[in-house]
């Protein structure tokens, strides 16, 4: 990953208005829907291609390209417990709207985020995704097991495991990520330096 001194992020920060009571209700509804039995979708090929591409961009440190896969009303959510609870009333490891994701990428690119100098090297291993039903028109939900293998100098490599849920939508003919949740099996344990994107 190239370290720049440019902390301005993948796009300028603009007012963010979509996180409100209705949005939090959507997140609570998401958790209910994630819990349904899933099935491997008939059109798995383009969906898996997309998820594997997302993993590749993250592992290559191409954070700006990854940001380009997200919708304007996106959310990146890493709960602080394997039972995610209600994000409206509980703190998380990450609960970023598009603007705060831009903050996060800008922070990583400053060349002064000591926690990520040098950058972590990751390898995302995804289990085959299953699709769960959703009541939200235009959205599709894919749930998969994930292991993020991470190395940093001076510390043994580690494997962060759990499940991830991708809410996808087709915008202008292209698949995009609307909401992504990463639920680690050890979400409520102490983590050393979890400052990279999962």
């Amino acid at each position: 990953m190239t370290l720049l001194s440019d902390a301005s992020g993948p796009e300028p920060a603009t007012p963010s208005t979509y996180v409100d009571d209705a949005f939090y209700q959507l997140l609570r509804d998401d958790l209910v829907e994630w819990n349904a039995p899933g099935a491997v979708p008939d059109d798995r090929q383009p969906l898996e291609t997309f998820l594997l591409h997302e993993a590749w961009l993250l592992d290559q440190g191409r954070y700006e390209d990854w940001f380009g896969l997200l919708t304007d009303d996106c959310l990146y959510w890493v709960p602080a417990s394997p039972d995610p609870g209600d994000p409206q009333t509980s703190v998380t490891i990450a609960c970023d709207d598009r603007r705060r994701l831009g903050d996060r990428i800008g922070w990583l690119r400053t060349a002064k985020a000591w926690a990520q100098i040098p950058p972590s090297r990751t390898s995302h291993l995804l289990g085959a995704p299953v699709e769960v039903p959703t009541a939200v028109a235009g959205e599709r939900k894919l749930r998969s097991s994930v292991i993020v293998h991470e190395t940093r100098p001076g510390t043994p490599p580690r494997a962060l495991a759990g499940w991830c849920g991708h809410v996808l939508r087709t915008d202008d003919g292209a698949l995009r990520i609307v909401r992504k949740i990463v639920v680690l099996t050890d979400a409520d344990h102490g983590h050393r330096n979890l400052s990279f994107l999962l």
Partner: protein, 426 residues
Amino acid sequence: MRSSPADLVQPHRVHRTLYTDPDLFTDEMTRLFGGSWTFLAHESEVPRPNDYVRKRLGLRPVIVTRDRHGEIHALVNRCTHRGATVCRTDAGNAASFTCPYHGWTFANTGRLTGVPLPKAYGPGLDRGSLGLGRIRVESYRGFVFGTLNPDQAGLVDHLGPAAGVLDQWIDRAPGRTVHVRHGAHRMVYHGNWKLAYDNSADGYHPGFSHRSLLSMRQQRYGAGVDMQYVLADVDAGAQTVSDLGNGNTFLDQRGEIPEYWPQAAPSPGREAYEQQIRQKYGPDAGPFLEAAVGSGMNLNLFPNLLIIGNQIQVIEPLAIDRTQLTWYATSADGTPDEITAIRMRLQEDFPSFGEPDDLANFEECQTGLGVPEMEWVLTDRHLTTERETTGPDGVVTGPVSDELPIRAFWRRWVELMTADLKLAVS
């Protein structure tokens, strides 16, 4: 030949082995964490009768309970039969605990209430002396502290001026109570626990350690957002540090914060909730929004409680060179749900973009402190500049990059490490 603790602490520097000597660590875990009042839990973590949470006092496993009459207890989580822990879950509601090993049962007040097959003990089983070890507890405005020192003066006396600062922090909430039941974010660093307390009232480091956060804010939001006042000559600014006595210290940023809400870090939900609050609450909206933002106070209660912004951070030593920091989120009584929603997202900000850089620096300190030939750690900023003042309550205050709080910590450290302590459960 091992130096005594007092030799390792000099007025202007301390010895590196204070951070690296496992024998010292073992002594610290009993003397500092238990020798005087040590933070255990907040009462809002056990709101209902028979609620309990598992905590640690140093390395000792502890259960903090609220009994059916509402009284708080701190019990050593260790069966008096053969030493197993009796409580195996982090939180719950139970009137008693039954040891999974041989079935001994203890009420949540600690009293031994059940011993299977007791005839084997003959007539001599003294149940009264076989309750769970009890830790002396006192609360101050919801903050529960414990000690194993029967001679320790009462909590309010011990807190001294720190109680008034804690009052100011709590009273920012319109309902004058905070709630600690909104989850926690736990971070681990491979370094000694004292590196965190060293940093807790360190006004010198932010412009450098948190350069990444400050650059990001500057480039994305311009000047005046989220503590950019740390980039100036901080000693010419309005922040201060104070020694509150007994190792308690305070870094006060409030002089640089004329109004909280406008300079708050942007967070998810800010726009929608501000609009909703102003629509619904009229003249109360302004004060509500002010209470949403971090306090600008860093109040540190020796040895393990760091009140940072709006959050409670507890230092949990695991080993000489491994420490867990638990960041508990809080809400403020007397504020609407919209404020809680703002607070949750705001309270993720510094743990995401600030703390990791400090922890990286702590780990690198631990590496450097392993070099035997470089023995000393400097603690002498503003030791000779005569810029400290003493208030009517005896509180010494200095410019914000003064290492006064670090020196105050070490004075208390020496006191407790060399005191003739007779620690005991009751």
